[in-house]
Symmetry: C2
Subunit: 382 residues, 2 copies
């Protein structure tokens, strides 16, 4: 039986998500927005019966069994952890820091019977599902290189906000790079152990963000990841993100191996085995009939749609409306995957400052918030 | 008046070059090959009256005023320096080391009246000539990012030889990367000051290279260059070279600036200004009617052809057959450019071992060949 849904967020993703949920038969009972006004406005537009700017009103809503959190990264942890504590299933976007991600992992481990997945949507896109399957079947032989490029227009909001601030989780690396980092670990079945990167903010001010305000989040980023085995057996991944390209959108993921290669361009998948004369189309774009959203590239949009379908199957498999079957969402990124992704993002940022290769070390216990204080006290003693 | 030409080399470039020279009215009088047999065979095929395996026979040949050197990198310096010493004009391929490149620079400085250019051909390709011009005119605004990809089949020769050996000047970085490094300095009008890179040899043995023999030259290389100003005003260049892609050839050079971008795909040039809805074709492929060469990608082939045309114009402008006008070959890479390129190549290799950003420092005096000996003597003294 399908659970009632509560949605957090009034941004472009939330705006797309609600119709997708409804199309699959979910009932959306409540909407949360940062201001009463934003919430009211979007609730009216999307036909949601209840809206609020107080998070508890959604979390404690008796008809809400599944909470979808698509809000600025810095607020995600708080809502996600609380939702699990109240016994709700959670689908959410990335957090802003590894400490936040770690707290979410702890909560998810504490409530293993609740659904807790990252709303990273590329894993569900049919092209990438097929790419993963073909990699497992050995289409490319031994995987050597992954090469990803995402080019597009600016990611900045119309007005000054978290998208402009690196520390708030803004920027190409955090917003788009996260999804790519997750995707590459899904495709390769391994994780990055060393990374190197370079971030730039080419556009620090524009017509809307000026005066004393400056953008600190990256609009250009390239990074390399060494994944899997060590030394020469590791897979080399290179990722180039450029969001200074108005009017264009390129989303290309290529994997090259010893006997062939696979290339996802947008939502289509192509392949070529060594020795064959030309590329073959493996997954076509199957004529997307859903909504078109200017701010949201088609691969993300279709991935989101496929994820909602998987959620429907997962809940439909069970009688009880809060219960879900693991099968249909087995490949979804867990909160542990979210922590890994956040760790890589921070390692790339560190590398960009240090200029050196940085190790990816997953946090295994929460840092003591009083550590700085303790150290200061120790110093004073001596 | 056009000079008589002597060609060194029997490889694919030499094989293409001779017909191109003849088509422009040059007479090719002599051919040198490493073995008498190779030289004889190709001379017959191309209708060259004289062939030899002794370099002096070409260099001292009385009808030869221009020497074109397309031989393995490790042999280039010796021939090029000697040719200048004998008073011949020189067009040649890259050397194997910075020390060799430096010796060539010294020779070129010593004989400024002689033509001495690197046979790097991408600068002459009409698409890149136009790209350079548009960059100067401000088509893209302030240059931010250059992004280059060259993908293709293996660069290894059929049999074991210098192409397999990193120290002999083999590998994607040295062979193809050199041309890209030179091109980017031509396009941007600046030079790299820091580089970071990663090299891999994915295919270390194949059907023909096996047993105790192993390939040491790179078949995958990814490097970044910071060019021009320091700090955030520098141009970020990323170059991806992958030669594990049989059956494909991709040659793409993109420059992105504050107000638009230019993209050369193969021999065509496209552009898009911010705000315009689609790319415009700026330079078409103008229907290449010359020879098609399997081992030589079209951009290099057409670039070579354009360079030969420029050489013809340069010599035609003067009466005396050894004299040449600077104008038509003013944009050709000098031996100084060759030294710069070789320095960047070695810095990228160093970075790949050290894992760190490496500075590009152009050699200003020849290292003392006895330095190691001197140091050993000093150590023994103490």
């Amino acid at each position: 039986m399908l659970p009632g849904v509560g949605v957090f967020g009034t941004g472009s993703t939330a705006r797309v998500l609600v119709p997708l949920l409804k199309a699959e038969g979910f009932e959306v009972h409540a909407l949360w927005g940062r201001s009463e006004e934003e919430a009211c406005c979007l609730a009216k537009e999307l036909g949601i019966p209840f809206h609020t700017s107080r998070s508890d009103d959604v979390l404690l809503h008796q008809d809400v069994d599944l909470v979808c959190i698509y809000i600025p990264p810095s607020m995600t942890r708080q809502i996600a952890v609380k939702a699990l504590g109240i016994g709700k299933n959670v689908v959410c976007e990335k957090a802003a820091t590894t400490v936040d991600s770690f707290k979410m992992v702890t909560a998810a481990r504490y409530y293993p019977q609740l659904l807790s997945i990252m709303g990273n949507t590329l894993r569900f896109l049919p092209a990438f599902v097929a790419m993963r399957q073909l990699l497992v079947e050995g289409y490319v032989g031994e995987l050597q290189v992954c090469d990803v490029r995402v080019y597009g227009p600016s990611l900045l909001d119309q007005s000054y906000g978290w998208t402009c601030e690196e520390l708030m989780g803004g920027g190409g690396l955090h917003t788009v790079g996260s999804a790519i980092i997750d995707l590459l670990s899904y495709l390769s079945g391994t994780r990055a152990h060393r990374v190197h990167g370079l971030l730039r903010t080419f556009v620090q001010q524009n017509g809307l963000i000026r005066g004393i305000r400056r953008v600190t989040s990256d609009d250009f980023c390239f990074f390399q990841m060494l994944m899997g085995g060590t030394g020469s057996s590791s897979v080399c991944c290179t990722v180039t993100l450029n969001f200074n390209m108005p009017g264009s959108f390129v989303h290309e993921v290529m994997v090259v191996g010893s006997t062939g290669r696979l290339i996802a361009r947008g939502t289509e998948l192509y392949g070529q085995r060594n020795g064959s004369k030309s590329e073959e189309l493996l997954v076509g774009d199957n004529g997307w009939v859903g909504p078109e959203v200017k701010e949201m590239p088609l691969p993300l949009l279709q991935g989101l749609s496929s994820m909602v379908k998987a959620l429907r199957q997962s809940f439909q498999a069970k009688e009880e409306r809060r219960c879900w079957a693991r099968g249909p969402v087995a490949t979804a990124p867990t909160f542990e995957d979210g922590l890994y992704v956040q760790t890589v993002v921070e390692a790339v940022k560190r590398s960009s400052s240090s200029g050196e290769w940085e190790c990816v070390e997953i946090m295994s216990h929460e840092p003591d918030p009083n550590q700085n204080l303790c150290e200061a006290l120790k110093r004073n003693k001596n």
